[in-house]
Symmetry: C2
Subunit: 345 residues, 2 copies
């Protein structure tokens, strides 16, 4: 089968692929090595550039099997301190109490969120949850050292991304006779963004985590309520950046996302399943911390301070492999997508 | 049911909702009218601000009914001239020939695309398709007058968006003692963006259409192939802006998107269904131009040169209704989402 509109390995040289753009881009010599792709950069990353995710940072949610009897496991990685820690701590308490067992997925709004929790809204919460009312979602720069953010680390990171521009003609600007990636580190919603300890953050008078695809947040009522952590949602469409700083981002789905994104949409207000659609609510069999799971799954992420990650961001910003004829010249924070993979034994 | 994390009408005053932010944002007086939401701006738009979509710009795709027997209709609006017209013209030819009848949805890649067409890749194409090899995807500014782009219309549009900032304290900057929406009209992938004739475009040495959620493009092989229009995909996750200027955007789904976004993901390379998953391919019963459908569905979009649309963009950029405590201060082009609705008779 021909992979039309493919990410497969290039079969034609860049020179041929770039033909329609001769006027705006110099032709690459035939002997140029094949341009890197996000996949090739990941494949070539050194083993020591990968960081294991501790089992205590994993949340394993088992949904009821699908109609064909297939298991549906969703794995969430919790965000590191100091971000959203009161809610993350509550989530650990709720998981330890097996609180979500028997609850369900109750809302699926297209291009927005899938949300799960207690549909009755009457299930008693554990007594020892941390109060969260009125808490802030942004972390001051002065408290961000824990994830490796310093002025130096930030500058070095973006310098490394630019330095990774070893891919020659892709971003050559013939008008100004220079190579450039003009739109790196630009964000619509903040002064900039960066990656620290494996996570993307927006930067502007502090740091905050971001509502990208597959990221998990805490449902809440009107402020000053900020939610307990018992009601969770994940983004199943375009990023919802207007929710940044308004709701707590507590994690991201690193495995099984399709079990939440491909569910039937609810026809009620905000995508909630109506009572007539009650059968569409997906039962949650169990939610456990990784440390409580027998033979817990193991994952690792590409160290966001590594040389390979800098190269990966660069390649994301400027695809010039055979399928692409016009490199984008930039990449938004959510389109970077930090590589996470199962650890193969 | 409490609509946690809700877009519902505010039930608390902004003054109360904004309490946690007293230090950075002045309190709104209790007598302030309820802040606008995207929904309220749409609801309040005048009838004459809505533009009917001609039936000849609609493509109606009937998928096989779902397992419960429910019909699955997907409606695509084709992009106006001068954008992607050779492919759009081919799509009209293919629809008139009933070419897609009996084909299927063959690829669903999570957070990427759903793609449909002839899985055998052996079905003969109509003889009269327009050759598209090597064609460009960007339209020079000088040819964009057809959608209403002029330097004046562009400036006026963004001036109107800023002028729509009648919502007071939401974007008040206490440090500089001024109101501002600093991040309007900023794009990571181009020098700017705008909305013309109901469509979003990136601007940089010309205009190009954008791969937002639900937008439809043309599958292709390696360049100089640009695809015929017979193989189509739609974005089912985050925007894929790196595909802009590399593939032809020919339309957007304005109804029934959930029938494509909630399909089971394929487990083959690039999300194609494997032969073992052949039963997951969704049969396409028919694809017809709106003009060939009995009792065609009717839709209208909010005129992107209207006052209400400018206000809508403004509100999208700075939600300050009761649910939000920190307005985003900007909006990316894909998060604007041009309002389209069925015409109610």
């Amino acid at each position: 089968m021909i992979h039309r509109f493919a990410h497969a390995a290039p079969t034609l040289s860049l020179a041929l692929a770039a033909l329609p753009l001769l006027l705006s881009m110099p032709v690459t010599a035939q002997e140029t090595p094949e341009p890197a792709t996000p996949s090739s950069v990941i494949a070539e990353a050194a083993p020591e550039e990968w960081t294991a995710i501790p089992a205590e940072d994993l949340l394993v949610m088992e949904l009821a099997p699908d109609t064909a009897g297939n298991a549906r496991r969703v794995v969430i990685q919790l965000i590191p301190a100091p971000f959203s820690q009161p809610w993350v701590e509550n989530i650990r308490i709720l998981a330890a109490a097996h609180w979500w067992d028997g609850t369900s997925v109750n809302r699926v709004q297209d291009n927005y969120v899938t949300q799960w929790g207690d549909v009755t809204e009457e299930k008693a919460l554990p007594d020892d949850l941390i109060p969260t009312e009125g808490l802030e979602y942004t972390v001051p720069y002065s408290e961000a050292g824990n994830v490796g953010l310093t002025t130096r680390s930030y500058r070095t990171f973006w310098q490394n991304v630019r330095a990774a521009q070893d891919r020659s003609e892709a971003s050559y600007d013939p008008v100004h006779n220079r190579f450039e990636l003009p739109n790196l580190n630009r964000d619509i919603y903040a002064q900039g963004f960066g990656f620290f300890s494996g996570w993307p953050f927006a930067l502007q008078d502090g740091l905050w985590p971001i509502h990208c695809y597959g990221y998990v947040g805490v449902g809440r009522g009107y402020a000053p309520d900020t939610g307990t952590g018992a009601e969770l949602y994940t983004i199943i469409g375009q990023p919802q950046r207007h929710m940044d700083r308004n709701l707590a981002v507590v994690g991201r789905i690193i495995d099984g996302m399709q079990h939440l994104s491909s569910l039937p949409r609810g026809s009620g207000d905000l995508g909630f399943y109506t009572e007539e659609e009650a059968r569409l609510r997906t039962p949650i069999v169990s939610v456990r911390l990784g440390t409580e799971v027998d033979a817990p799954p193991a994952y690792e992420y590409l160290d966001t301070a590594s040389e390979s990650f800098a190269r990966y961001v660069n390649v994301r910003a400027n695809r010039d492999d055979a399928f692409y004829t016009v490199p984008a010249g930039g990449v938004d924070v959510c389109s970077v997508q930090v590589p996470v993979r199962p650890v193969s034994e």
